[in-house]
Amino acid sequence: MRYFLQRMLQFAVVFFLVTFGVMIFMRIGMNKPGDPARTMLGGFVTDQKAAAVNKQYHLNDNVFVQYFYWLAKMFRGDFGISVQQNITVANYMKGRVLVTFFLGFYSLLWALIIAVPVAVYQAYRRDSNFDRAGNLFSFLFVSLPALVLAPVIIQLFVIRWAWFPRISEKVMPWQSLSGHFKNFFLPVVVLTLPLAAIFARLLRADIVQTLQSDFITLASAKGVPPSRVLWTHALRNSLFSLLSSVGVQLGALVGGALVVEQYFSMKGMGALLLTSILSKDLFVVQSVTAIVVAVVSVANLLIDLTYAFIDPRIRHARALT
């Protein structure tokens, strides 16, 4: 509990620092005397609009006041409004959140579904042909950024064979399951492959390590069959790197979604972030960043708790602190 509070505090500190940092950063060069709104909106806004925006968002006050107002709104669930698009940020994100959620969820899920059995079997049959093939493939996919993978995939599956649409629509599973599959498959593949490769490499290394520990030998010496040794004894003891990597990769997935959404012209949160950053859409950037940071941090917290759930030693250590 105490540990949990401590983590929450840490989360709060990081959240404040990051969001405040982003705000400062977005406002560098904007808070020069004159007209922040005009700088932000470009040269064409009317005086009234500039004045209104300045007033509404306290742009002429100092950054702390601005931050305070913004934060207060966030806590009331008001993510603000896109000054440029005249739309509430909440509305702006509606319909986009799910796209990115599904992208991330599927990639993570598939990466794990692929990586875990492969890694377990690789570690078990270490140095076998399977292991070597697995290593080679994971090397290849780790070294294949979306930049390289996406064009080739698009060329083959979309342009050459036309199996999948060129631009991916936001078809949700409850709308059309097959449509959902068609539209999400390729983006998910592009995100999944490198992820699965990273996971497999990490997990394999850990299991190899674990398999050398005494308690694994003891398990064998008790006559426990290899499958049980692998899946019950070795795997559970080898999840630490994998889980922390899932945490790290969550952040990377947001970046990956940004790229993949761009390749497949999907309009998700990544695309939203990109446009709003490029067009200096202040409040959208601030709010969406805050949300992303919060989601990533909370997910990491959950991963932490998961680990405590798996490992009694950590539970124990945390019960103390």
Partner: protein, 355 residues
């Protein structure tokens, strides 16, 4: 080469374990490591055999070879290992699984790392019971609790549901013993079971082992580097050096009448409580042999103060002493032989001259 001994020690059932010319080598980038290089020995039912030797002499690999629990990669095994008359040296891991835990069990050196940190104690003890004896979960756990009582763990019922990190080292080693005992094996291999423990706890564990062995009529192979430990707790002692068994005898016989200069030197280099403080210790010069390129001839010859040319050329066989056929040793010029005395006297004179 050790036919005579075997014949004389054979009981009606035949010995529990017989090793003949067991070799275990590893392929490494440096070359072939001859970790165990031709060991033959016999272990009778109900007896305790201690294996002593310096670090790296191949004790662990010997016990693992018997158990068949060697890394599969890069391992070369030769020789014959007969367990209850059955050749188990060539069995696959699958076949060995029926032997492991049920007929042969093992205890490891480090109680801190030998238990699965993520599994409850009870589950770990119950695991072999459920696998080998097809017990139900509740039966297995009940048996586990009984076993824990046997190894004198207080509040066994509560401990069952605890995790290894909640127990002290001594407790964990007791758990290890309980696991080993679970399916009533006939042979227990204990690899330095007390090295990581405090002396007071070491004594407890050694006593416990001895007691369990007698109660269950198990044979014990106790591997350790501490001559003190084997002296009080085994019936026979084998001394290993550089992957070979260099001397083997019933405990009392060995201490009373050791033949190998190595065994003697080993004993003499240990500080003894009985000696007054600041007693000068005897030292074995040099270092243990490199098992990739072991010395030609007797492996101890480079460090042996009594070594002759023959020792450096010809490998001495393991032969029985005249007094006791159960006492075997591998030395051209054993302790007590004329050559030995001669060298010893010469050394003494030299030392006096130097002083």
């Amino acid at each position: 080469m050790s036919i005579a001994i075997q014949a004389s020690t054979r009981t009606d059932d035949g010995p529990l374990l017989e090793l003949e010319g067991v070799r275990t080598h590893f392929q490494t980038p440096r070359g072939v490591v001859r970790a165990v290089d031709g060991v033959s020995l016999t272990l009778e039912r109900g007896r305790a055999l201690g294996i002593v030797g310096e670090s790296g002499s191949g004790k662990t690999i010997l016990s693992r070879s018997i158990m068949g629990l060697l890394p599969t990669r890069g391992t070369i095994r030769q020789g014959s290992i007969r367990f209850e008359g059955r050749e188990i040296g060539g069995l696959s891991r699958r076949a060995m699984r029926d032997v492991w835990g049920k007929e042969m069990a093992m205890i490891f050196q480090d109680p801190m790392t030998s238990l699965n940190p993520l599994m409850k104690i009870g589950a770990q003890i119950a695991e072999p019971l459920r696998i080998h004896l097809d017990m139900s979960r509740s039966d297995a756990w009940a048996t586990a609790e009984r076993l824990m009582n046997d190894v004198r763990i207080p509040a066994a019922g509560r401990r069952l549901r605890q995790y290894p990190h909640e127990l002290s080292g001594g407790m964990r080693q007791r758990i290890m013993i309980a696991i080993a005992m679970a399916c009533g094996p006939t042979l227990l291999l204990a690899d330095e079971p007390t090295t990581a423990l405090d002396v007071t706890v070491q004594a407890q564990i050694l006593d416990l082992l001895g007691e369990q062995r007698r109660d269950r009529n198990m044979s014990l192979l106790l591997v350790t580097h501490d001559l003190g430990v084997v002296a009080g707790h085994t019936d026979d002692i084998g001394v290993m050096y550089g992957g070979k068994l260099v001397e083997m005898a019933p405990t009392a016989e060995l201490f009373a009448n050791m033949k190998m200069p190595y065994t003697e030197a080993l004993l003499q280099s240990i500080p003894k409580l009985a000696d007054p403080s600041h007693t000068r210790l005897n030292v074995i010069a040099g270092r243990p042999p490199d098992l990739v390129n072991p010395p030609v001839g007797c492996r101890f010859s480079p460090r042996c103060p009594y070594a002759q040319d023959r020792c450096r050329e010809e490998e001495p066989p393991l032969i029985p002493t005249v007094e006791d056929p159960r006492h075997t040793y591998a030395c051209w010029y054993p302790v007590g032989s004329p050559a030995y005395h001669e060298t010893k006297a010469r050394r003494q004179r030299e030392a006096e001259v130097a002083a």
